[in-house]
């Protein structure tokens, strides 16, 4: 029996916490008369309001996410990655098609897509092959019938190449800069290696000769006899240039001398293999040492210690991956997209393929393992920045600014309203006039003018602090009026007379006796003000007068989204920040409304 009532009790507690009215239980006559403190009545009323409660829960969840999220998804303010711009949301960058998975001949990773060919010569494209509105690597690909038995593929920035067993070359994708227009002289050559680069195509013939076509303004490549053309064994593509390995084991740079990779270290000895990232080159010497040079970010210069002999090396955008004959894979370099986190369980690897931010390893048992960048949950923006990470960081900024400016405005409002209401007389008149002057300053234009005049000469952090102060200083007036009116009503009550009679200081009467009695009004006003401060901050940032790019807030993430191209094609750039900001403000307003109803049930009837 007692067990049963206990169960009933805990159930009703659950119900009470998450809304829903409990049935009218028969109560003891005396129980019904039991007193309830005002605070408990408020909480009970509030909890019974499903809408407000739901708003509170959603808001708290969002608050927790934007507070904790940036720890896991930090952003670099100066981040700019031209290969990853305007990518649609999706996590399928490493989703290898079924037909290819157990049957790989070669895989090549491009900017946002990958191209693979299976042992039957069938070509597959996966990832985000839609480069722009018109160019889609998967759709533009020549039919399988046309290509026949493909033996090698290569994926570049916005185009791809394939070579079949008859030595015929195919290029498709963006042809804006001539990167897919195969020159006539190439068609008669026997090709051994194809490389699709950054808007540029390169091939290596059996005769050790290099041919290239595409955007030659950006890719400053000059292949000359002097540099060893005619005796090239392997080529490797950097961002805007080309590295080559000659037959006698010498590394040659084919671009202009200004590039970072041009400074080839002395004493490499006989080099057996080379690999390149976007702006660095790694060479494997005969004695097994790996030397890295060029513009290197992170720990890319220091190759890890390894066992056995290196079988193959691949360079991604900012990292290297290599395979040794013990079947073990090593990766080093930048880890911003988890591209060097080789799975622990990986062993007995037969072949590896790597590119931009993705890596694929084929084990001896025929299993294809991949690691690296899967994709972007909410896509990327015009500078290739992850929208999701910016949303989290921007949310934290928006909420912080909103919260601090509300605290400022509440403190000012309570102090001025309290003093003005309690002391009356000339103090009241002066404070009232000040309140009216501040409230007659037009809010948004005033905030714009203050941030643009004062804020221009400030550092980024001081500017953010300034925005908080401006929002706080401009929005305290309505609360001050409210508190004044409440204090005027409260100060005539008996407990104030009692406190005065007992000799309590006047300031103590105001802030210790009267203010606690009007605290409910203050809380409601602060909640609603929080929403309006967040809105004002995001409006300011949206207009470019608040927090400035590249530091994200929900407002300035929408800045630059008002044009038909972005609205239509890159919807993820505006939909997600808009939804987050709207939901957050709606929830806060619901909580504020619910609180007001809970504190003053009469207001509900209005």
């Amino acid at each position: 029996m007692s067990k049963n009532t206990e169960k009933k009790h805990s159930f009703s507690l659950f119900k009470r916490l998450f809304g829903g009215k409990s049935k009218n239980e028969e109560k003891d006559v005396l129980m019904e008369e039991a007193l309830q403190s005002p605070l408990r009545t408020i909480i009970k009323n509030f909890v019974a309001n499903k809408l407000a409660m739901g708003g509170l829960i959603i808001f708290l969840v969002m608050f927790a996410i934007v507070l904790i999220g940036p720890v896991f998804y930090p952003i670099t303010l100066s981040e700019k990655e031209e290969t990853q711009t305007n990518i649609a949301p999706g996590m399928g960058m490493m989703k290898v098609p079924e037909g290819l998975a157990g049957n790989v001949r070669e895989i090549s990773v491009g900017s946002t897509f990958s191209v693979g060919v299976d042992n039957n010569g069938k070509v597959y494209v996966w990832g985000q092959p839609k480069i722009s509105q018109k160019i889609d690597i998967a759709k533009d690909m020549p039919s399988q019938k046309e290509m026949g038995n493909v033996v090698a593929v290569s994926a570049g920035f916005d185009h791809a190449m394939a070579l079949n067993d008859e030595g015929e070359l195919f290029c498709w994708g963006s042809d804006r800069l001539g990167q897919v227009k195969i020159p006539g002289e190439v068609k008669r050559k026997k090709i051994v290696q194809i490389e699709a680069g950054y808007q540029m195509s390169y091939i290596l013939t059996t005769g050790g000769e290099i041919f290239y076509w595409g955007n030659e303004n950006l890719n400053d490549v000059r292949v000359t006899k002097k540099k060893g053309n005619g005796h090239i064994a392997k080529i490797a593509v950097c961002n805007n240039t080309l590295m080559a390995l000659t037959e006698n084991g010498e590394v040659v740079h084919m671009g202009s001398s200004g590039m970072d990779v041009d400074k080839i270290p002395e004493g490499l000895g006989k080099v057996t293999d080379i690999a390149t990232t976007s702006n660095a080159c790694a060479a494997l010497s005969e004695d097994g040492t790996i030397t890295v040079w060029g513009q290197a970010t992170g720990d890319i210069r220091i190759a890890p210690e390894y066992e056995g002999n290196v079988v193959s090396m691949y360079g991604g955008r900012f990292h290297f991956t290599m395979l040794t004959d013990t079947g073990k894979v090593y990766a080093w370099g930048d880890n911003s997209k988890k591209q060097i986190e080789v799975p622990e369980s990986l062993k007995d690897v037969e072949r590896i393929y790597g590119g931009t931010y993705q890596n694929y390893a084929l084990t001896k048992s025929g299993k294809l393992v991949s690691w690296g960048l899967k994709g972007y949950l909410m896509g990327t923006d015009d500078l290739g920045r992850d929208v999701f990470a910016r949303l989290l960081n921007g949310g934290r900024m928006t909420m912080t600014i909103g919260a601090i400016s509300v605290i400022i405005s509440t403190v000012i409002g309570v102090i001025i309203g309290g003093i003005s209401g309690f002391f009356g007389g000339w103090i009241d008149i002066v404070l009232q006039r000040i309140t009216e002057i501040v409230s007659s300053l037009p809010f948004l234009p005033m905030a714009m003018i203050l941030t643009s005049i004062i804020g221009n000469s400030l550092s980024e952090n001081a500017r953010i602090a300034l925005i908080m102060v401006i929002l706080g200083v401009l929005s305290w007036t309505s609360l001050a009026r409210l508190v004044r009116a409440q204090v005027l009503a409260e100060r005539e009550k008996e407990f104030v007379t009692a406190a005065t009679a007992m000799g309590v200081k006047r300031s103590a009467i105001v802030f210790k006796h009267i203010i606690p009695n009007v605290i409910s009004v203050i809380i409601v006003s602060a909640t609603l003000d929080f929403a309006s401060c967040m809105l004002t901050e995001s409006s300011l940032s949206y207009l470019g007068f608040g927090v400035k790019l590249p530091r994200p807030t929900w407002g300035n993430m929408l800045n630059g989204c008002v044009n038909s191209v972005v609205i239509q094609n890159y919807w993820w750039r505006w939909v997600f920040p808009a939804i987050m900001l709207s939901i957050c403000v709606i929830c806060i307003n619901m909580v504020g409304d619910g609180l007001r109803d809970a504190i003053d049930p009469k207001s509900n009837e209005r």
């Binding site: 037009p442 714009m448 409006s539 949206y542 929408l558 008002v562 038909s564 808009a578 403000v585």
Partner: protein, 328 residues
């Protein structure tokens, strides 16, 4: 009543001067040398001495070497005589530049307010009469959404729906480029371009206004005279529209005035999004382009609008409710 109005007017003028001092001091602390900006393009074309001379002339003309109080009095004198300064962006007097945008802004604000009222008054009355019905509760939730979502997000969604997907309205602008028609054709073209911004402004003000009308109507319906009217056996329609609504209307009017003034300020964003040639956009461009004469003039205009709206609201309260008048 006259005494009350006079008191309010004197007080308003006082506030105006205080605000203008604040504004003037703010704008005079702008980093950058306005005299140098004016003669900048002559640098290198004339000899160095001549340039210094021109620079000094410009400084004298702008009165940059005078102490701030002197400059304030000069500026205020010019302002009161209607000289608003010189725009460096448009290379014209501010007074000439500002006339057309002001007309445009007033036009779109009036149309948007009228449209919003046409929707919110019937809706608010209906919700008040059927208070706590399912329909009312749904509208209440929608009004929270309405006043929570910032106007530029509404604009983005509407551009997506009506311009990009359905292709009904153009995305931005005031007229078809190089539009030659006059008279009626011009007006139609103008309205076609302003259709979407007006829709956005109307929708954005629905939430708040519906709540006001509903609250005012509920207050009126609770009055004793409504009970009396019902007790007399009058038709419900007569009770609602003649007895309750006429009384609610008085407080709604005061709200409408305040509302109309506040969307003046809110139209900065709409004008920026849709590139409407109004004073909001002009203010925005002035601040961005460091054309501070124009920004200051429009800022003062905003202040005047706010002050007038406060005055009109106070006065209309006084007319509606004589108790307010006696208190002051």
């Amino acid at each position: 009543m006259l005494k009350y109005i006079a008191k309010r007017l004197v007080y308003m003028v006082g506030v105006f001067f205080v605000v203008s001092v604040i504004m003037f001091v703010l704008f005079n602390n702008v980093p950058g040398d306005r005299a140098l900006n004016q003669v900048q393009n002559m640098r290198g074309k004339v000899s160095n001495e001549r340039f210094q001379e021109m620079y000094q002339q410009a400084r004298d003309k702008l009165g940059l070497d005078d102490p701030i109080p002197v400059r304030y009095v000069k500026w205020m004198g010019n302002l009161l005589r209607g000289d608003l300064g010189y725009s460096t962006i448009y290379k014209k007097d501010v007074k000439e530049v500002i006339a057309e945008p002001l007309r445009n802004t007033i036009l779109i604000n009036i149309i948007a307010t009228v449209l919003a009222l046409a929707i919110t008054i019937p809706l608010g009355i209906f919700c008040a009469v059927k208070k706590f019905s399912k329909f009312d509760n749904a509208v209440q939730v929608f009004t929270i959404v309405g006043y929570s979502v910032p106007i530029y997000i509404i604009a983005l969604v509407f551009i997506y729906l009506f311009s990009v997907k359905l292709g009904i309205f153009p995305i931005s602008g005031m007229n078809t480029p190089n539009f030659q028609g006059t008279g009626f054709a011009f007006l139609v073209d103008r309205l076609y371009y302003l259709g979407l911004p007006l829709l956005v402004m109307t929708v954005a003000s629905l939430g708040g206004m519906t709540r006001y009308v509903r609250a005012a109507m509920i207050d009126a319906l609770r009055m004793d005279y409504v009970r009396t009217a019902r007790a007399k056996g009058l038709k419900e329609k007569v009770v609602i529209y003649s007895h309750a609504w006429r009384n609610a209307l008085l407080s709604v009017i005061t709200l409408i005035i305040g509302w109309f003034m506040s969307i003046f300020m809110g139209s900065i964003i709409v004008e920026q999004v849709f590139q409407i040639n109004g004073i909001g956009l002009m203010y925005y461009k002035g601040l961005l382009g460091q054309d501070y004469d124009i920004a200051l003039a429009i800022q003062m205009l905003y202040c005047v609008i706010t002050l007038i709206s406060n005055l009109v609201t106070d006065l209309s309260y006084g007319i509606v409710d004589p108790r307010v008048r006696i208190n002051k």
